[in-house]
């Protein structure tokens, strides 16, 4: 009995392939701001992004029949009522934190390919600056706290209370096992900031960063410095997904979902007791997404990687298969991940330097790149890109997209 329980279940049985059957056909974003805040409620902020995405798709709100709101909205009902979506056939919310927007692409693709819904809207956003901040995780109730009851009962008593501290545990171990250095984490922060200088929407546009600035940044939770951490901003973004047939009737150049997958580490709800602490959801999801897409990491022209913290970019580069485990430090050095380099990462500046929009801004940037609308940030001849999501204690999601 134990053998069958312990074997990782192999790739699911072949069914209908999703490859190239679903497209992203609309995108929308609010402004991304810090002081003085968006001035909008959590709901209004996300509605604004949604309205823009629907318009960008050339649709009317009442044509939306699928909705995948982020958990911070509670449920789809209020959102649909405000939007004027009268015929909601498909409503679902994915609860894997920042992995949810990309995982929602996967779910939306299955809905439109099977005909369960025709136009699925995925909004995501928050007042991460003017509202409750990610840094202020205080255990009021286990259900709303990242890590839930396990964090409350086994982490918080010892002062392990917030995301940079959890992930710092992995980063330190990585430095020990592979010799990863702070300057390599700095190279990631610098690349994101450099890209933000080319992005007028980025909160950090106009604020370049040097390695000296980075190393002088105060330590938060060793090895994470303040400049290793994502921004806290107000903003929302949204995309619309439809079938490849329907996409042909709409006004934008469709961006095809070639391959997509989700995964969780084991155990997903507790970060210290993993056989391999670097094995995250993305470790399992990436090969599945590439297999569906029929491409390999070599074919990827750019990668929008969920950058809650610099080390997580390095970790995801390894787990996606762009390099071997432990080689991420060397990979991010020397400009390889900058525009003009071998694998531009977070061409918009990412969560680190554009804004924290729960990773939905990474999907939007990927679509812009593949539409050829990335202005000064355009990756020349961008044909295939990918976007990742990361949530909670390492849940992962990935979508390989093409023009």
């Amino acid at each position: 009995m134990s053998a069958s329980r312990r074997e990782l279940n192999s790739h699911p049985a072949a069914g209908v392939s999703l490859k190239d059957q679903a497209c992203i056909v609309g995108l929308g974003e609010t402004e991304y701001v810090r002081r003085p805040g968006s001035g909008l409620s959590l709901l209004a902020l996300q509605l604004q992004a949604a309205v823009r995405a629907i318009e960008d798709a050339g649709l009317a709100p009442n044509e939306i029949d699928g909705l995948m709101p982020f958990p911070n909205l509670g449920s789809a009902e209020g959102f649909a009522a405000n939007l004027g979506t009268q015929n909601l056939r498909y409503a679902a919310t994915i609860h894997t934190g920042g992995a949810a927007p990309v995982a929602s692409l996967q779910a939306a693709a299955t809905a439109v390919v099977t005909g369960v819904a025709q136009h699925v809207l995925i909004p995501a956003g928050w007042n991460g600056y003017s509202g409750p901040r990610a840094r202020d995780t205080v255990a009021e109730d286990a259900a709303s706290m990242p890590g839930g009851a396990i964090a409350r009962d086994y982490y918080l008593p010892y002062g392990l209370t917030a995301p940079p501290q959890w992930y710092a545990l992995m980063a330190r171990r990585h430095m020990h096992e592979f010799g990863t250095r702070p300057e390599q984490l700095g190279a990631i922060a610098l690349a994101m900031r450099k890209h933000a200088q080319l992005n007028p929407r980025a909160v950090m546009c106009g604020r370049p960063l040097s390695l000296e600035d980075y190393l002088a940044s105060p330590m938060l939770s060793d090895p994470y410095r303040v400049l290793d951490c994502c921004l806290e901003t107000d903003g929302a973004a949204a995309v619309v997904v439809t079938s490849v047939e329907r996409a042909r009737d709409l006004k934008q150049k469709p961006v095809y979902i070639m391959g997509t997958a989700s995964g969780q580490p084991y155990p997903a709800d507790e970060i210290t007791n993993r056989k391999d602490i670097f094995e995250t959801g993305l470790t399992r999801a990436a090969p599945e997404a590439f297999a569906m897409a029929g491409v390999s990491p070599r074919d990827i022209d750019f990668a929008e990687i969920y950058d809650c913290f610099t080390f997580e970019v390095l970790q995801q580069i390894e787990e996606t298969g762009f390099c071997k485990r432990g080689e991420g430090g060397a990979f991010v050095e020397g400009g390889r991940i900058e525009l003009g380099g071998e694998l531009p990462v977070n061409t918009h500046g990412g969560l680190l330097s554009e804004a924290h929009v729960l990773g939905m801004n990474h999907i939007v940037e990927a679509v812009r790149q593949l539409r050829g609308e990335a202005d000064q940030r355009q990756v020349k001849d961008a044909e295939i890109g990918l976007v990742t999501g990361w949530g909670d204690f390492g849940d992962g999601s990935i979508a390989v997209l093409r023009r």
């Binding site: 009995m1 134990s2 329980r5 312990r6 840094r135 202020d136 995780t137 205080v138 255990a139 286990a142 009851a149 396990i150 409350r152 009962d153 086994y154 982490y155 918080l156 008593p157 010892y158 002062g159 392990l160 209370t161 917030a162 940079p164 501290q165 710092a168 545990l169 992995m170 980063a171 330190r172 171990r173 020990h176 105060p218 330590m219 938060l220 939770s221 060793d222 090895p223 994470y224 155990p267 507790e270 210290t272 007791n273 602490i277």
Partner: protein, 141 residues
């Protein structure tokens, strides 16, 4: 250790269910982990069943109390108000001889002397009359 008369303001575990059983053993100054009655697999944090073999039967088996430092982070800026006075401090992951890992802290060890692989042994800190937390110190030779 807690000063007499000082209010303890740090977060405490919610003592119910399996968490209560774990911390009740700590209150007896014993570190015990669940051990599956059918396949003998150790586990931490407490779970309802054995993920290795599917059994719902287990015992609270005594740990040797010895382990090594697996990883840690030094918190330089508190993100939780109750820990502002404790800065800098280090949550440490200890890998126990039994194979499970536990998040705790290492007492009486300067933070710059923490080392991966450092041998440690458990001690017990009665932080409030109702709650004892397992903590560690460097193992004596």
């Amino acid at each position: 250790m807690t000063q007499a008369g000082t209010e303890y303001t740090k977060p405490l575990p919610t003592l119910q269910g399996l968490t209560q059983e774990f911390y009740d053993w700590c209150g007896e100054r014993e570190l015990r982990f669940q051990r599956c009655s059918e396949c003998s697999a150790w586990r931490h944090v407490p779970r309802e069943m054995c993920a290795e073999c599917g059994s719902f039967r287990c015992e609270w088996a005594p740990s040797s109390g010895r382990g090594t430092v697996f990883t840690w982070t030094v918190v330089a800026r508190a993100l939780h108000p109750a820990f502002k006075d404790a800065l800098p401090y280090a949550p440490v992951v200890i890998e126990m001889e039994e194979g499970v890992r536990i998040l705790s802290e290492v007492l009486d060890c300067p933070l710059d002397e923490l080392e991966i692989g450092m041998p440690v042994e458990v001690v017990f800190d009665e932080v409030t009359p109702g709650v004892t937390l397992p903590k560690f110190r460097r193992a004596r030779a």
